[in-house]
């Protein structure tokens, strides 16, 4: 079982790395969706099914769709410019895999002893009940921030009536 987890974790890290290092923005957005899918699988394995479903539908779906929208609206670079930018870009990003490998190896070898006392609490069974009964203020917050987001998008993107924008 631990092997399966390890595999998913490796794919998570690899897809995140690919997302950041790839040249084209479109592939980055696809990589982001892939990373979200891997994270959702990990959440299933760690006993959090509801969060996994949310992550899959919202992050791997909605946010990736938003990224695709914005990438296609803003003009992509022509192939010649991509090639000339690629050299400089690679120079800036080439340290990343090295750093990641180093950090990974160092931390794996280290296994720091964590000296905290983790309390053994009894489990409140259902997420849905929990969310509604105990975290109502969070729900109010979610509604308010959705309102704010709607307003924000309208204000930022709507053309003013008199001027042509």
């Amino acid at each position: 079982m631990a092997l399966l987890d390890e595999l998913i974790l490796l794919m998570l890290a690899a897809s995140a790395l690919w997302t950041v290092m790839t040249r084209s923005l479109l592939r980055s957005a696809i990589g982001l969706a892939l990373t979200s899918a891997m994270l959702a699988m990990l959440m299933f394995r760690l006993n959090n099914p509801f969060a996994a479903v949310f992550e899959l539908s919202v992050c791997a779906g909605l946010i990736s769709a938003l990224f695709f929208c914005i990438i296609t609206i803003t003009e992509p670079l022509t192939p010649e410019k991509v090639r000339e930018e690629a050299g400089a870009r690679f120079g800036r990003f080439r340290y990343l895999p090295v750093i990641v490998l180093l950090v990974g190896i160092v931390l794996r070898v280290l296994t720091v002893k964590v000296d905290v006392k983790i309390p053994a609490l009894e489990e409140i069974a259902d997420v849905r009940h929990f969310l509604w009964a105990h975290r109502q203020i969070d729900l109010v917050g979610q509604i308010i921030i959705l309102l704010c987001g709607v307003f924000g998008i309208v204000i930022l993107l709507k053309e003013l009536r008199k001027k042509g924008g």
Partner: protein, 101 residues
């Protein structure tokens, strides 16, 4: 405990990737992608903490709220990026250095 340490290591790796992306990029949308990667790292961290302390319902509630907030944040940020694009027709951060820091 050993299994959780492995998960924790990968969360740290995701952090490093996200921070590096924000620091090294010259493109606005890629900065947003870096922030998204950081949010994934934090989500993973919360899930790990919930699993280790046995409180999966609390961590799931937190993650659900976090995902909603993060979506709104990214949507508004995209609105800002689109408005910048309408002004300058490019996504280069070098074109955004008018205000002296």
């Amino acid at each position: 405990m050993h299994l959780l340490w492995i998960f924790f290591v990968y969360a740290v790796i995701l952090f490093v990737i996200g921070f590096y992306c924000i620091l090294a990029t010259l493109n606005l949308v890629r900065a947003l992608i870096g922030i998204e990667v950081l949010m994934k790292a934090v989500t993973l961290l919360i899930i790990i903490a919930g699993y280790a302390s046995g409180r999966t319902s609390l961590s799931q509630a937190l993650v659900i709220t976090l995902i909603v907030v993060e979506t709104v944040l990214i949507a508004v940020a995209m609105g800002i990026v689109l408005s910048v694009y309408k002004h300058t027709k490019s996504l280069d951060t070098k074109s955004l250095t008018d205000l002296k820091g």
